[in-house]
Each structure stands twice: as C-alpha cells, then as structure tokens.
Symmetry: C2
Subunit: 99 residues, 2 copies
C-alpha cells in the first residue's frame, strides 16, 4: 500500500475505532468525537481555548442534524484541518528557503 | 505523532513531493497529478477505464481554472476517494458480520 493509500485507510480505521463504541456503531456521538480528538488530535485540541470546541465542531459538521457524525460528515473536518496545517507548513517551508 | 496526525502529514508531504517538480512549485500540473496518481493511487487508476481520467479529475477540481491544483483543490479529491473507500469498507465489514 502506498503512503497516500495508508493515510486514507487510517482515516477510516480511526473513525470506526471510535464510532463503534456506544449507541450507533457507524457514527460518532459527541462523546465519541471528544474521545477521538483527545486521543488522536491532542495538538489541535491544545490550541483551542474554548471548552465548547467539540460541541461547536459537531454542530458545524452535522449536516443531517442527528447530533452524530457519519463518515461523510467527519471527512470535511479532517480535510479542513489538513488544509490549515498545510498553510502553516507552506509558511514554515518558505521561511527555510527550500524549494 | 498520532495515526490521524501522521495521515494528515502524509497528504501534505505527498502533495508537495509532486508539486515541487516543474513550473509552479506549490501546485500540481496535469503531468504532476498524473505522476502522483500513477505512483500513489495505482489501485484507483486501475479501476478507471477512461484514458482521460486525470484530465477529467483536474477539470472537476480546478476551482480557479488555472489548470493547476493547489492543496485546497487537491484535498477534496482525497476526501472524496476516502469516502468512496469507506462505503466499500462498511459494506465489506457488514458482510463479515463484525460489530
């Protein structure tokens, strides 16, 4: 498997690892998303000063308003975070004067 | 770094690995996207019978119509592919009767 394929697979397995816990086994509840973010995105959570971060994120992403995130609702969150990280990376990369 | 953070990092490094080649060093040209897909998404390319696949993909994703993909235009492609893979995974997972 290539690096890009592996990263796609990781997104799927990480999502399902937390989604399968309580209630609906194929979606993330607020509690499950919180657990996922605490364990898998600790550096992102540290930058968030608002204690309602998880609640706000789920509200923003929950398109069908069922208070749960399915995989299609979760991916745009990871995509958005990755785009934010890349902006930081590009900035840093430019500063170092690399091509 | 957690698994999810690593997969976000991989998307960034894979993109830049190919983007940095010719012309604009921060975007993928059609040639660079083709190279990326041949090397990093060989299984996806195999399923595509149409020889214009790369051309069609770049047209679909290139929001600012500059015939290049920047990272923000590239991420929705990986996101869409991952969602398609997850549907396949969910189907397969159900069949195996796992929780």
């Amino acid at each position: 498997m290539t690096e890009l394929e592996k990263s796609m697979e990781s997104m799927i397995t990480v999502f399902h690892h937390y989604a399968k816990e309580g209630g609906n086994k194929t979606t993330l509840s607020k509690k499950e998303l919180k657990k996922l973010m605490e364990a898998e995105l600790p550096n992102f959570l540290k930058t968030q000063k608002n204690p309602d971060t998880v609640e706000r994120i789920i509200k923003d992403l929950d398109q069908n308003k069922d208070d749960e995130l399915d995989f299609e609702e979760f991916v745009p969150f990871v995509a958005g975070l990755t785009i934010a990280c890349e902006k930081h990376y590009a900035l840093h990369h430019d500063k170092k004067g690399k091509k």
